[in-house]
Every structure is written in C-alpha cells, then in structure tokens.
C-alpha cells in the first residue's frame, strides 16, 4: 500500500471544518472536494430509496436495499447460534435436570407464542408488499396487526415468567432455568426493540403523506423476521428437552 502524498496546509481547523459541514448540508452547493474518487455504485443504490415516499415499483431484490443491515442480522444470528450451542452442550452434561426442568415450562404459552410470531411475520410481509404496491394505508394496517401480535407475545411471555417464578423456578434454580430465562429474556429484548421499530414504521406510513422511508420499513421488517426466526429455534430447543 502506498500512502497518498502528504498535502500542504488544508488542515481540519474548526472554521474551515464548519464551512465544509455547511456545504454538505445545503444541496444547492454540492461539495466537490469530498469523495470524488470513491466507488459510488453502492451509494447510488442507497440514494434511490433515500426519498421519503414509498417506492412504487415492486423491486425484485429487497434485501440489498439496506445491505449493511445484514451485518447486524447475521451477527445477531451468530450470537444466538453460540447461545443455542452452549445450551445443547450443557444439556448433555445434566440430561435428567434439563428434562425435568423443561417439563415445568408452560408449553401451551410457548406454542401459542410461536403461532403469534409466525402470524406477525405474515403481517409484516403483507405490509412491505403493500408499501411497494403504493398502498401505504393497508401497509399501515398490516403493521398495526403485527404490532398487536408483538405486544401479545410480550404479554404472554411475561405471564409465563410470572407463573414460573411464582412456582419457585428462577434463573438461580439450575442451569436449565438460567439458560431459559437469559435466552428468552434477551429474545424478549429483541421483541421490544422490534415493537418500537414496527410502531415507528406504522406511524410514518399512517400519515397523510408517508413520513418514513421504504428503506426503514424494509429494515424493520427484516429485523422482525429475524426475531421470529430465532424464536422458532428457541421454542423446540427449550421445550424439547422433555423428550430426552
């Protein structure tokens, strides 16, 4: 790698610097000094969706609109992959404890919650597709339905926690319950963050002229599907130990 030529005094003094900021801010004076040499293909792809109105065309590839988001999605999936593996590994060392503890879980709530999340994902798919079809109102309604599912999931999960703690099972009971509370707790944190994202998308799309970028709605949608996807593994993994 060869270093660029050291340049003469064009240093980052604060006054110059604020000028530069102002140039960036005002679209009428495009800043020609910055970034003329950069690869711009990705930026152009981003620019097309930067406007606030929903994109009318039904774009084929929705995943690469916000390609950086996948760093987070795959990263988080990797973290949970490590959690899952750690749980399954520990379950082998104390199979009896894990089996008897798992049988104390309320499988009815776990099962219903799985169906709730799958259905919420269906609503999110409907919302993104409606938005791309140029129908923000139905999209907003679908997001509201997904949000209701998210809140129902959280309410049922808290009910399950309270019942289990009431019956004397806490994270300190044994390693199974440690994993159970920590993994579902971190997942519940994801659900709550997802609910905030769905709420923001709903509010933006509900307005007379949509105030939210299609990129944001799609990103929130992909995040929500990940929340669904992680639970779909968490459910059999935690509740299944009773089979062994």
């Amino acid at each position: 790698m060869s270093r660029p030529q050291p340049r003469t005094e064009q240093a980052l003094d604060l006054p110059d610097f604020l000028q530069e900021v102002e140039q960036i801010r005002s679209p009428s004076t495009p800043n020609k000094t910055r970034d003329t040499t950069r690869d711009t293909t990705r930026d152009q792809a981003g620019d097309q969706t930067r406007d606030k109105a929903p994109v009318k065309s039904s774009a084929i590839d929705r995943t690469s609109v916000e390609s950086g988001l996948w760093v987070f999605i795959f990263g988080d999936m990797t973290l949970f992959g490590a959690f899952f593996t750690g749980f399954a590994w520990q379950a082998r060392s104390e199979p009896a404890v894990f089996a008897s503890s798992a049988s104390k879980l309320l499988i009815g709530i776990g099962g219903v919650n799985t169906l709730v999340l799958l259905t919420s994902s269906l609503f999110v798919v409907a919302a993104v597709r409606a938005m791309h079809a140029g129908a923000p109102r139905p999209a907003a309604r679908a997001l509201a339905a997904a949000l209701a599912c998210a809140l129902l999931f959280a309410a049922l999960k808290v009910t399950e926690y309270l019942t289990e703690v009431g019956a004397g099972y806490t994270p300190a009971t044994n390693l199974f319950f440690t994993f159970y509370f920590v993994l579902t707790g971190i997942h519940l944190l994801h659900v709550l963050i997802g609910a905030v994202l769905l709420f923001s998308a709903w509010r933006g799309l509900r307005a007379e002229t949509p105030r939210v970028s299609s990129r944001f709605v799609e990103g929130a949608g992909i995040y929500w599907h990940m929340v669904d996807l992680l639970w779909v593994v968490l459910f059999p993994l935690l509740y299944i130990s009773r089979l062994a």
């Binding site: 790698m1 060869s2 270093r3 660029p4 030529q5 050291p6 340049r7 064009q10 240093a11 980052l12 610097f17 604020l18 530069e20 900021v21 102002e22 960036i24 801010r25 000094t33 910055r34 970034d35 003329t36 040499t37 950069r38 690869d39 711009t40 990705r42 930026d43 981003g46 620019d47 930067r50 916000e66 390609s67 950086g68 988001l69 996948w70 760093v71 987070f72 990263g75 988080d76 973290l79 490590a82 959690f83 750690g86 520990q90 994270p171 300190a172 390693l175 440690t178 994993f179 920590v182 971190i186 944190l189």
Partner: protein, 239 residues
C-alpha cells in the same frame, strides 16, 4: 501533519486491543479469569503467586486501555461532520466513550491493588476482587449508549456520500447487543453467565477488542480517503 495525528488516533484502536490482551495475559487473567465461585484463599493465591509479573501485566493493560481516548476523539471528529450544527450524538459519544475508559482502567488499578500487598487478609483481597470484576464487566450502559450514538449518527448522515459506510452503524448496533449479557454476573457465581463465563467475559472481551480494531481500521480508511479526495490522488493509492 494533521493526517498523521488522525492516523495515529485510528491505530490506537488496534494497538489497544493487542497491548491490553498481552497485559491481561501476563497478569494471568487470560485465558481464565479469577472466578466468582473461588474461596478467598484461592483468590488471594491467584494474585500473589507471581506478584511482579501480575503487577507488570496490570500496568501494561491499564496503559493500553487508555488508548481508547484517542479513538473516541477521532470517532467524534467524524461524527460531527455527519451531524453538523447540533452535534448531540457526538457529545454523547464523547461523554460515554470517556466513561468506558474509566470503567476499564479503574478495575486494572483495583486488581493491581489485590496483588500489591500479598500479606493482606484473603477476605479483603476477595472483596477488592469482587468490586474490580463487577466494575470491569457489568457497567454496560456507557458502552451500549456509545455504540448506539455512533450508529444513529451514521444512519442519519444526510450526505449522499456518507462519512462512514452504513454497515459500520449496524456493526455498532450488533456490538451493543453483544454487551447485553454482561449485566448478568450480578446474579451468578458460576456457569456461562458468571463474570468468568464464556457468554460474559469472553463474549464481551472479543466484542470490545473487535470493535476497537474494526473502528480503528474503518476510520483509518476514512482518513486516507478524505486526504486522497483533497489531494486528488488516484484511488489505487488508498486501496
């Protein structure tokens, strides 16, 4: 000259990760930290079996962790260009970033205090050790807020040619999530979620080291790119 100082600040990220790792390894904290379930005599023995080496390790680690401050400053310089006239997130990043440095360096001093007087009563050493490790691992709020502030600034960058690429924002959000289990050592003496556990110490350690290295390299690239843009150097010079 300015570019050289900026590059120095960028390289302080990777340097932090490498030197702190060496220091903690010399202090025997790596690969297995003094566990929360050990009794006072085992804890005391951990700190006093090779006092000089242990103290040297903590001295090196405490110096290395100070390298976070130049990195925080360089992140701030880039964030203020994203935010313009009201650099709220920039200030938030600087405040929380400074706090993270303190929360990492002070535990090094406390662990060094454990090794400082080997004749001290084991119960007192255990008390200091508890305090040091809970402070080292659990204060995740400034870390997470710093990551989220960086991410929000990048995602709200209005420029068509962003100062930092958007994936850096999502990487920061991921790192914030990786720190979340670090609050759990309050509740466990043993197992994967105690402070020595794999999902706490090792996860947070790898996340923080990767973040420091990653941000350092990303900012180095941005600094070189900006200079190339000013001097109109061809692209291959910065690749």
């Amino acid at each position: 000259m300015n570019t050289k100082i900026k590059l120095l600040c960028a390289w302080s990220g990777p340097a932090l990760a490498v030197l702190a790792t060496v220091g903690l390894a010399l202090a025997n904290v790596l690969p297995v930290p003094p566990a929360a379930h050990l009794d006072p005599h085992e804890i005391a023995q951990f700190y006093t079996q090779s006092t000089t080496r242990t103290l040297f390790g903590f001295a090196l680690a405490s110096l290395a962790l100070g390298l976070i401050f130049p990195l925080v400053a360089l992140i701030a310089v880039h964030m203020v260009r994203m935010e313009g006239r009201t650099p709220l997130l920039t200030f938030l990043q600087m405040v929380t970033g400074s706090a993270t440095g303190v929360f990492l360096i002070v535990p090094m001093i406390m662990m060094a205090t454990c090794a400082f007087r080997p004749e001290r009563s084991p119960e007192l050493i255990q008390l200091l050790n508890d305090f040091a490790w809970l402070m080292f691992i659990t204060p995740l709020a400034p870390f997470c807020i710093q990551n989220v502030a960086i991410a929000l600034a990048i995602l709200n960058d209005p420029s068509p040619q962003p100062v930092l690429p958007r994936w850096v924002a999502f990487g920061n959000l991921w790192v914030a999530f990786l720190f979340v289990p670090s609050i759990l050592p309050y509740f466990f003496y043993s197992g994967p979620f105690a402070w020595q556990g794999i999902f706490v110490f090792w996860l947070a350690f790898i996340a923080y080291a990767s973040w420091a290295i990653g941000m350092g390299l990303v900012l180095r690239h941005a600094v070189l790119r900006d200079e190339a843009a000013v001097t109109m150097t061809p692209m291959h010079a910065v690749a």
